[in-house]
Point group: C2
Chain length 477, copies 2
């Protein structure tokens, strides 16, 4: 049977949700398990995460962050120390009540996030201003007992990193919160080819216990929003709740300030929904596990396999993640397979190409084919990988620009949200009432107040009061 028929996926514009699930499954990124809401990250999906981790981790360390690992279990009493925090997370906790055959005196939750554990640790090790700042990060999984689930977007267990830092002053902590948002934005835009909107969450949408939550909002192909990385400034709330103090240079006992920031595997869902098409996944070259796949054409003809292997070896030597597929499947089967897997470049070589001392390179994003003299292989592949990245980024940005609208009433917002969707921009008076009214009357939530504010005056679309704050609304994953 023809590979493309076997792997047929629902067209993106027919049923985006089904298209998404089809791609996750057919590209072998992820699998379901016998525990509801828990998933298996398969090799191809996990390899994307490893590449994202490497890019993130390098940038974290360049800013002085150190990695640590803290326990996966949190005693209930610890979780309860910060009031807002426990209210936000307790309903989603999974609870351990038995250890071996013994009933535990205090139940323990599997971490949904680790602010409380970091604070407990810090309360023991921080004594003097010399101990600050502490710049910690942890790569781990967290559990949130969600009611519904979708691959990458909503799991009961997902992989992420959580950074936690402690500072002598509020200013320094805020600076760190913003710095880490910039690191996330850098990876999103320059590695994942996903344009970001940087902003602040409203009080309603803030992380449980935070004074400020910064966010990156990305627009997906279907015009919905994906929150992709958040960075929180806690003030000294957690530090007070956990009794963390230090002796400053003037020998006074004072309370430090805290931040946390997290980035998770839901970004892989974002990659799929930003860049994918009707042939499957389209991977940003800088995280693609395979950047170039070499496919021998008429592989039975003398010398073809050797020629293909030589191309793969040259690409590998040039630092390009590449493989050759010399399986006995047909070239057509292979073309479909690596299209589904979103491999950015396909390098074909057959007897005719060998005669002409060339190969053919096809781009996954545009389908464009180029004949490339063999002598120029590495150089061309590198240029093409950059070109693919740039053009994927530009296409995603175009999608966002074409689908961002100014609205002046909830009804106008509703018409767009229920129609083609998009980011809806307006002024906002800052009241929770008006924010709730937008949800009620337009079916949208606040996405963020962009860091770049226009500074102009306008009116709140709900109450009509004069105000200056720019805000974005939308429907989010």
């Amino acid at each position: 049977m023809d590979k493309r028929q076997v792997d047929a996926i629902t067209p993106r514009d027919v049923d985006f949700a089904q298209w998404y699930t089809d791609v996750c499954k057919k590209a072998k990124l992820i699998d379901y398990t016998s525990v509801k809401g828990m998933f298996i990250y398969r090799p191809y999906g996990y390899a994307i995460w490893e590449n994202i981790q490497r890019e993130m981790d390098k940038r974290f360390k360049e800013t002085g962050v150190e990695n640590v690992y803290l326990p996966v279990l949190i005693p209930e009493s610890l979780l309860q120390k910060e009031k807002d925090h426990v209210e936000g997370f307790a309903p989603e906790c999974a609870w351990i009540t038995m250890g071996g055959s013994e009933k535990l005196e205090e139940r323990l939750c599997v971490r949904p996030t680790s602010e409380t554990v970091f604070c407990d640790h810090w309360s023991k090790i921080v004594h003097s201003w010399r101990d600050l700042p502490l710049l910690y990060n942890q790569w781990c999984s967290v559990l949130r007992w969600e009611k519904t689930s979708r691959p990458f977007l909503r799991h009961r267990e997902f992989l992420w990193q959580e950074g936690h830092t402690l500072h002598a002053t509020a200013e320094e902590a805020i600076q760190r919160t913003e710095q880490m948002l910039e690191v996330y934005a850098d990876v999103c835009e320059n590695v994942l080819a996903m344009p970001v909107l940087k902003g602040l969450k409203t009080d309603k949408e803030k992380f449980a216990g935070a004074e400020r939550t910064y966010t990156l909002e990305c627009m997906m192909y279907d015009h919905k929003a994906l929150q992709n990385g958040t960075s929180h400034f806690f003030g000294d709330g957690f530090a007070r709740a956990f009794g963390i103090t230090y002796t400053d240079k003037d020998n006074r006992q004072v309370t430090p300030f805290e931040t946390s920031w997290g980035y998770s595997t839901r970004t892989i869902g974002g990659i799929i929904m930003t860049h994918g098409d009707d042939n499957g996944l389209v991977l940003p070259p800088r995280v693609a596990p395979i950047q170039a796949v070499v496919i021998p054409v008429a592989a039975h003809k003398p010398g073809v396999l050797d020629a293909a292997a030589a191309l793969r070896d040259r690409l590998k030597a040039a630092g390009i993640r590449s493989k050759m597929d010399d399986s006995d499947n047909s070239p057509g089967w292979k073309f479909a397979e690596y299209e589904m897997k979103g491999v950015p470049l396909r390098v074909e070589i057959g007897p005719k190409d060998m005669e002409k001392n060339q190969c053919v390179i096809a781009r996954r994003d545009t389908g464009e084919k180029t004949f490339v003299p063999l002598g120029e292989l590495e150089e061309t592949v590198k240029k093409l990988l950059d070109a693919v990245h740039d053009s994927m980024y530009a296409m995603a940005l175009q999608n966002r620009e074409d689908n961002t609208f100014d609205i002046s009433t909830p009804e106008e917002a509703k018409a767009i949200a229920e129609g083609k969707g998009g980011f809806l921009r307006s002024k906002w008076c800052g009241s929770l009432e008006c924010e709730l009214a937008m949800k009620e009357r337009a079916g949208v939530t606040s996405r963020c107040m962009p860091l770049e504010q226009s500074g102009t005056e306008g009116v709140c679309p709900v109450c009509g009061k004069k105000c200056v704050t720019d805000i974005y609304w939308g429907v989010a994953y």
Copy 2:
């Protein structure tokens, strides 16, 4: 107060256990938490693990292994599918009984190891001989509800990797089991400077559910054994229990064969106990987070700080993990600090050295100091790092050779075990009875039957029967 006094640790020969705990704490490797038996891997301890991970992961991938991530929670029914396995692990499981506010229908355990989850996944994705072999690995933490705990050596939660592979034939699976043991041995010897004894576990000491367990046994400074990496061949037992079958090339439905292999952070305990001394940690250069620390002497004199910074920059550029300590602590304080932290090389530079265009390099392992012309810095440091590695390995090997004894009765074994300790070598008839008698009468357990067997005939020290199998006994961590 003098740094050395503040940080005074119990001498190694006075109380080895206390010395060990002191080093873990004073070198800031690990910390206790509010949950009994659970620890915090602090930045310096975690950085050692990251270096071990990098060395392991590279070697795994070179053999074709792919990384994946499977759920942390295992339904009780899944754990029960393989009889020996559940008997071995169920008593040590931590059980989730509540998700949010809802009581779960089936309780879930936090993974103590993931054979059952891998098998469940494979039973769904394996269909044809073309799907084999599957060569998977997962970096994660596991939970074992132990009664007692010690830093790195016995945690209720520890970090490890668990490899799981599935093969068409038993031969291929056994080959993989042995291949991964070799990878572990390579890292132990050539990265961690720890000589290994490779062998097979007796039936009594095998992993729950395995047909064969291969092990690496290392001798610590106090002559006790540390099991440091195990690799298991399961035959087709798990595959049958989980109903995994595939269609072979002759179109028959057959059952595949499985392996698993694991290596954990307990190896960091092994590093400490193999190499440490009365001044603290001594780190093998190839995993030391800091390989060379540059210390300015008379730092207030003109040019000294710049000269020290220049040395650090040159070392970094040469790919050597290095830092300069320009804090206002005294050189003596710094010397003690980096000795405690086990940094392999200390590079000192002061005004007199600058005049002579040289620096001083001190080795952590031997204390030996060398004057090095600045022009030869990188080259000398690289050579010295290798020399430190070699000499640490040689010293550990010498300790093992000096403390390995042939014994011919349980009483002889007991005398040594209760005296200075060591590896006790004898023949063994193969019976469980005699193995238990050695535990009962000599207080030792079987460590392994070495892969290199002498082939000579002798008698079992317990029953006196003629037999050929060489075996090692000892007291283990």
